[in-house]
Amino acid sequence: MSLGRPNGWASEPAGPTGAALPAPGTAREWLAAMVLIRRFEERAGEMYARAKIGGFLHLSIGEEATIVGSERALRDSDYLVSTYRSHGDALARGTPPEQVMAELFGKRDGCSKGHGGSMHMFDASRRFMGGYGIVGGNLPIAAGIALACDQRRGAQDAGGPDAASAIGGDGQDEVTLCTFGDGASNQGTFGETLNLAALWRLPVVFMVVNNQFGMGTSLSRHSAVTDLQRKGESLGVPGMRCDGMDILDTHRVVSEALARVREERRPLLIEAVTYRFRGHSMADPEDYRTKEEVAQWRERDPIPAFCDLLEREGALTKEQREQIDQGALRQVEEAVEFAESSPFPDPDTLYEDVYVLDEQVHGHYHWSPKVVR
């Protein structure tokens, strides 16, 4: 089986590939990152049930290996662009759980100041370039970030000035990783963006997180081509696949893709085959799949599987396993306490950040007798 090889091979079920383990300390750090996401999401679900969190809540439980495996393949200077299921991406990138939970609570200290909520996490300082609520809407954004990186690199090569920007490219070899779901592969922006990225040779890795469902519609019911890694072929974007339930395989394939894109300056598409154990959002009766199917996938739960592997390989003791879990639970508990105690945004801040204020734009219109401009 040749998982991770670009193109030219038939659809195969993903499976363990025996990718090499990293150093024990690194492996335990990856495990801790996955466990943190799992415990965070579980607690977020509880908080939603207690009406501490409003709107929609899309949990990543089951997809932790895809998230952490791909994120840990990135450099700090690389960019990550995500979807409306983005708590895990923010946490994996290093955004403090306090800020993510406070955002879910709609509090002032949330990473998006309570303006975004579950679907719109953002952390400029860690180059986590956002969760996006529109399915497929994030692909052009990712290509644009890649364009800016490429442009700046070219300008530096030509001896041009290095423009200042808070979150701007460094003119190095940054690559943008763009994740999206299997459902997004049917949007117009998928075809448009892959074509443009290939045409302009943009340094972007597109990763379709195939969790088997576009909301409540299964892959075979929404996509004529279910071998998703091939969907970019006609657009000039070669495909690869990884087992998204296996953090080692995900890390290996994404690392290879990033290295190739960095070097060859052309986009790649990765299909990460995974499964979400919970509903699409919290309000999902899950009538579109059987309990047996969910149970089958849960047998491949990426966290116990990785724990067991590490124990077998002597990279994890039972005590360490327990410590990691307790540490995650403690972090999440602190995040909830922080979110609880953080104040709601002041009503006076309603109009903040609608515009960047300057000489031309002095404020925002209030439709009241007092006109502010």
Partner: protein, 347 residues
């Protein structure tokens, strides 16, 4: 002062800003090799090269989205859409992302980009190439909206748009590209958004003309003065967000009457919005209801005689001005319906 066409004034602005800032890049369909559907960008590919003048596939939503992403990390993209109708394909990226990113990410990211597009009727392009949609963009918080009507304003406002830290919808007019006007080439200072231009002073009635309608209103004002002895004050708001409401209100305080002229549809239009603002803020100044002259409430027809009566011309503006002054005006001037929007009042 140099006399130049509207399209050349736009090109001058692009050239100056590209020279001023390496981060300014152009993207759009047929803007490079072809020189632009309306030739605004002709010659810029040769001058600035493939990396900064980028021909794109026909993918409006994605082009704008790529501009958004590039702007978030420091470029200043100027995206050209071939007509305002095609901007509808990009409405997702314009509204959900360009306009909202600064707000929804708590101020952490900015989108300093310009989306240029021409609008307007008069070329018999029918219902998918001829509309005027400034009010759609005006309704979206987070966007700035410019509607220049002269070559000097086109240049000065485009320069200001490119330098602004906010996303700007920059609406040009198909019928203005060939219109000439005076431009001071030596003055490279951008204009400032939110400052209306008083096109013509007068004390009897205020006429606000949006986009090309500023010119039509100016000609109507000449007819009002010459034929009817009415001195109209014509105001071109130049930008709709931010809007220089003060200048309009000051004029209304003087004339006590107001007519708003726009090429777009009447329902929820720029005029509807502005009429509401004027009545909220200056009700006591008004001696007559604010009157609107708008495009007809129909998809733009192809046939020349129908197209001609589907957007405002001078006679409708003259008639509206006379009517707010309480002067009897003959219905159906020049054989046209009294005003385009009069017919929509039936629904």
């Amino acid at each position: 002062m140099t006399e130049m066409r509207y399209r050349d004034a736009l090109k001058l602005a692009l050239r100056e800003e590209m020279a001023h800032d390496e981060n300014v890049i152009l993207m759009g369909e047929d803007i490079g090799v072809f020189g632009g559907a309306f030739k605004v960008t002709s010659g810029l590919l040769e001058e600035f090269g493939e990396r900064r003048v980028r021909d794109t596939p026909i993918s409006e939503n994605t082009i704008v989205g790529v501009g958004v992403g590039a702007a978030m990390v420091g470029l200043r993209p100027v995206v050209e859409l071939m007509t305002v109708n095609f901007a509808l394909l990009a409405f997702d990226q314009i509204v959900n992302h360009a306009a909202h990113i600064h707000y929804m990410f708590g101020g952490q990211a900015r989108v300093p980009m310009v989306v240029r597009m021409p609008q307007g009727a008069g070329h018999q392009l029918g219902p998918t190439h001829s509309h005027s949609f400034e009010s759609m963009f005006l309704g979206v918080p987070g966007l700035l909206v410019a509607v220049p009507s002269t070559p000097a304003d086109a240049r000065g406002l485009l320069k200001a748009a490119i330098r602004d830290e906010n996303p700007v919808i920059f609406i040009e007019h198909e019928s203005l590209y060939g219109v000439r006007g005076e431009v001071d080439e030596d003055d490279e200072q951008p204009l400032v958004f939110g400052r209306a231009r008083i096109v013509r002073s007068g004390g009897d009635v205020t006429i606000v003309g949006v986009s090309r309608m500023a010119l039509t209103a100016e000609r109507a004002a000449e007819e009002l003065a010459g034929t009817h002895g009415v001195e109209a004050e014509v105001i071109d708001p130049r930008t709709l967000r931010p809007l220089d409401l003060d200048t309009i209100l000051e004029s209304v305080a003087k004339t006590n009457r107001c007519v708003i002229v726009e090429e777009g549809w009447p329902h929820g239009g720029v005029g509807a919005n502005l009429a509401a603002l004027i009545s909220e803020q200056a009700f006591d100044d008004l001696d007559a209801p604010v009157m609107r002259v708008s495009g007809a409430d129909v998809p733009m027809p192809y046939s020349k005689p129908l197209e001609e009566i589907a957007f405002p011309h001078e006679p409708q503006i003259v008639q509206a001005a006379l009517s707010v002054m309480g002067r009897e005006a003959p219905a159906g001037l020049n054989g046209r319906p009294a005003t385009p929007q009069a017919s929509e009042a039936r629904i």
